[in-house]
Amino acid sequence: MIPAPEIALGALLPVLVVLGTAALVLVLDLLPPRDGKQHLGGVALLGIVGALLASLWQWGTEARAFRDMVVLDGYALFFNIIIGYAAALAVLLSMDYLRRNGVESGEYYALVLFSMAGMMLLASAGDLIVVFLAIELMSLPLYVLAGLFKTRLASGEASMKYFLLGAFASSFLLYGIALVYGATGSTSFDRIAAALPAGRALDALFLVGLALLLVGFGFKISSVPFHSWAPDVYQGAPTSVTAFIATGSKAAAFAAMMRLLFVALRSAQPDWSALLWGVAAVTMTVGNVVAIAQSNFKRMLAYSSIAHVGYMLVGVVAGGAPGAGSVLFYLLAYTFTTAGTFGVIALCARAGEEAVDVGDYAGLARRHPLLAATLALFLLSLVGIPPLAGFVGKFYLFGAAVRSGYVWLAVVGVLNSAVAAYYYLRVIVYMYMREPDGSSAPTVYAPSFAGGLALAVSLAGIVLLGLMPAPFVDLAQSAVAPLLR
């Protein structure tokens, strides 16, 4: 009798819940009714809530499985909350949105759940192989979801671009993993950290591997110069999918990247922080400057996301508990804000088509003052106006940078924030200060209970994080403690 090995399923419980729900959704999809798949959205939501409960149940413990390949610590649990919320919002927004656009399908919810499982696994990864596995599990469903609007060229283009560039980036990542394995003899974060002596110069093989790893991650978080997929994918994909990509996949990629940098590559910090300094500065600037020229709202938000990645990289460069904690807090605030913004876009239409041009929002405040005010608040949070979440996030991020001595990076960051105000305010100008030209004013679909709930929770989130950030800041600080031990 071969004794069965001990598998600490506790570490994998949230992921297993999600995967189980995904399988259930796939099975239920086979059953009637043929059209009208919103009940599957409800099932998916139950699964997400279940996974969140499983995560909360594990709070305070640290579970490791598969010989430290999967680590469920406070850090992973914090990200599980962000990813769970992002997925829940994506599901809530899509229940009406897909029906209106005629692409209701059960596979949508299953794919979202599979991707979410990959994201949660990515946040818990303690080994480079698991990182690769999780990135693939996260990305492949997203490639498919981006192309969901089968009859629209933009959607197909988005899917194709995402897939090709993503596969290319994954291969960079794999090559980097191979080189790091060659240099250190292991793919486990803890063992890599042990194999790298502090103070001694690192060999070329390792440095090249590090660079390739950063290329792979750089693609996933859409930092410059690996950002070119983001505008096309954000613009072409269905809006609820865009919301999911912008929030969930970014958060998961940051989770894994920071765990890699702060745990495995801790002794190489001078090297990668110098590299990331440049990447952060360029990412912020390119994102903001190019966003100014955009007239398509979704494309503009893509470039603004790129800029926000730049701000978050400032926190990574700053390092330490304040630096890493500020990135977590900012990701939380950013998830609420971005999901809310895309949620509003999903509700607006003009002349029967999705209102994606900034000009389509002209005069929105007159007819739909509440929705316009909601969108205005989300945009102001992105600008960084107090007392909203975005301001506290930026304050915390740039504070960490100044504290670690990166004053000039903070200066670049705040100047970029000031520049960014222009394109966010432009939407507000259209909503409040311009009248719609021609006969077609923007129409707004009344949000369903689900969509309205998503918007309300997002709004409450950014106000709460802005006015009473202290508990969340402390939570973020304690979440990064496992990384910095």
Binding site: G399, V402, V414, A421
Partner: protein, 511 residues
């Protein structure tokens, strides 16, 4: 809840309460907003009477813990400078709202709510004694002003509003970095990480590049707000395009935030840098006085003329503040109040003309004396106050400032004095063109004189203009102790960090 919190949040609470009133009752909304603003003024009056002018410390202090792990606290306090500015704010807001009674027809609800939110933001700037709290209020009053200009403004309102926001944000962006740098340097030096302004002010910072850069970052943000030449280019657009009520608040209160910032933060926190850069600020202020006056002289639009005159008047204020002697600084702070009253009144009256004739061009008027005698009389009073006629408020402030300036740099003070002459040039020329002479346009003959509402709007301002001009002691008395303490703090900190010649000797040595 202390009185400062009540004054601070009453406008915001009122704004939130107004949300329930339906949009189709604009008169009710305006009335309710007016009531809230007037109530705020009434509850701010005890601050004046209970303020002890002999005590230099902050009074009515309130402190509550907000974010202890970040060193941020909810810290409010009032000294002589902020007392007068708070009262100016609570006085001008209801008057501005009353002046907009007929002018704002469209979206009156949003207008009143925005004005009240703006009032809370402005009061917060003057009352905060915590740098984080100050920055929150400073940034948060950008957006209401942006909406006021952009939605209810004139023809080029969007350009003006966006310019205003971007300009101000760029300045305050660098101030944020300076605040963070100050926080961490203080923490590293003393072990206490805090944004508490009095505590930070007690710390003596080493003079050098670090202090200079932080001073410049703060100074840039405030210089844009004042506006100090050459950062003034947003002002004419914003003032001209804003609705009357917006212009009154912008000129009356918002510009003072810049000068207040110099006093509250730059001088006590960065004394060495303030003294080192003093000559530069002095020169820019004098340049602004003359430049603002000369450009005002060639204006054809009434509002633009008043806007550029603001540049000139605030140059006087900055001149006074950076003399670092008692007369100059008291004169500077008093002139802040005077400018708020005089220029606020000027904008109110220009708004009244505009409401009647829908033009602001000087050439479209003339001979109004016979048609609207009451208006013309008050307009004369306000114009004379603006140019500094003895007996009215402007003279007291300008005189004190110039006395202070002469002690520091005679040449620049002489140039500044010429600014008074130029002010007379543009003010009297404008008045003559608009009020005296023959009625050049038929439409002017049918102009109605001041209504009861307009009398009520103007009388409080006129009352203070005369009162401060004839008997300023009640107001300067509140300032003396605070200014003395501030000057002493700057001197002590500067001499501790750099034991050399005394402050005044170093200043008169020249740039």
């Amino acid at each position: 809840m202390g009185i400062l919190s009540a004054v601070l949040f009453l406008p915001l609470a009122g704004a939130l309460a107004l949300i329930v009133i339906p949009r189709r009752r604009p008169r009710l909304l305006m009335g309710a907003g007016l009531l809230v603003a007037a109530a705020t003024f009434v509850i701010s009056l005890p601050l004046f009477f209970r303020f002890d002018g002999d005590v230099p410390d902050y009074q009515f202090v309130e402190y509550a813990v907000w974010m202890p792990s970040l060193g941020v606290g909810y810290y409010l306090g009032l000294d002589g400078i902020s007392l007068l500015l708070v009262l100016l704010t609570t006085l001008l807001t209801p008057l501005a709202l009353l002046s907009a009674w007929h002018a704002i027809e469209d979206r009156a609800k949003e207008f009143v709510i925005t004005m009240l939110v703006l009032e809370t933001g402005m009061l917060g700037v003057f009352l905060s004694l915590d740098l984080f709290l100050f920055f929150v209020f400073w940034e948060s009053m950008l957006i209401p002003m942006y909406f006021i200009i952009g939605v209810w403004g004139g023809a080029h309102r969007i350009y003006a509003a966006v310019k205003f926001v971007l300009y101000t944000m760029a300045g305050s962006a660098l101030m944020l970095v300076a605040i963070l740098a100050l926080y961490y340097q203080h923490g590293a030096a003393t072990g206490v990480f805090t944004f508490d302004v009095p505590m930070l002010a007690r710390w003596v910072m080493e003079p050098g590049l670090s202090q200079n850069l932080m001073f410049l970052a703060f100074a840039l943000a405030f210089a844009i707000k004042v506006p100090l030449f050459p950062f003034h280019t947003w002002l004419p657009d914003a003032h001209v395009e804003a609705p009357t009520a917006g212009s009154v608040i912008l000129a009356g209160v918002l510009l003072k935030m810049g000068t207040y910032g110099f006093l509250r933060f730059c001088l006590p926190l960065f004394p060495d840098a303030s003294i080192a850069f003093g000559p530069l600020v002095f020169a820019l202020a004098v340049f602004g006085i003359v430049y603002g006056a000369w450009v005002s002289t060639v204006q054809t639009d009434l509002k633009k003329l008043v806007a550029y005159s603001s540049v000139s008047h605030l140059g006087f204020v900055m001149l006074g503040l950076f003399t670092l002697n008692q007369q100059g600084m008291v004169g500077g702070v008093l002139q802040m109040i005077n400018h708020g009253l005089s220029t606020g009144a000027l904008f109110l009256m220009v708004g009244m003309i505009y409401e009647r004739r829908h033009t602001r061009l000087i050439a479209d008027f003339g001979g109004l004396w016979a048609v609207v005698p009451a208006f013309s009389a008050l307009f004369l009073l306000v114009s004379l106050s603006s140019l500094g006629l003895p007996g009215l408020n402007g003279f007291v402030g300008e005189f004190l400032i110039l006395v202070g300036a002469f002690q520091v740099d005679v040449l620049l003070a002489v140039v500044a004095t010429s600014g008074i002459i130029f002010a007379a040039v543009y003010m009297l020329w404008m008045y003559q063109q608009v009020i005296f002479g023959e009625v050049r346009h038929e439409a002017n003959r049918r102009m109605a004189d001041l209504s009861l509402r307009e009398w009520i709007v103007l009388l409080p301002v006129v009352l203070f203009i005369v009162w401060i001009g004839v008997y300023p002691t009640p107001f300067t008395g509140k300032l003396e102790a605070t200014i003395e303490a501030l000057r002493a703090q700057v001197e002590i900190k500067a001499s501790v960090a750099r034991p050399a010649a005394s402050v005044t000797e170093r200043r008169t040595a020249g740039p």
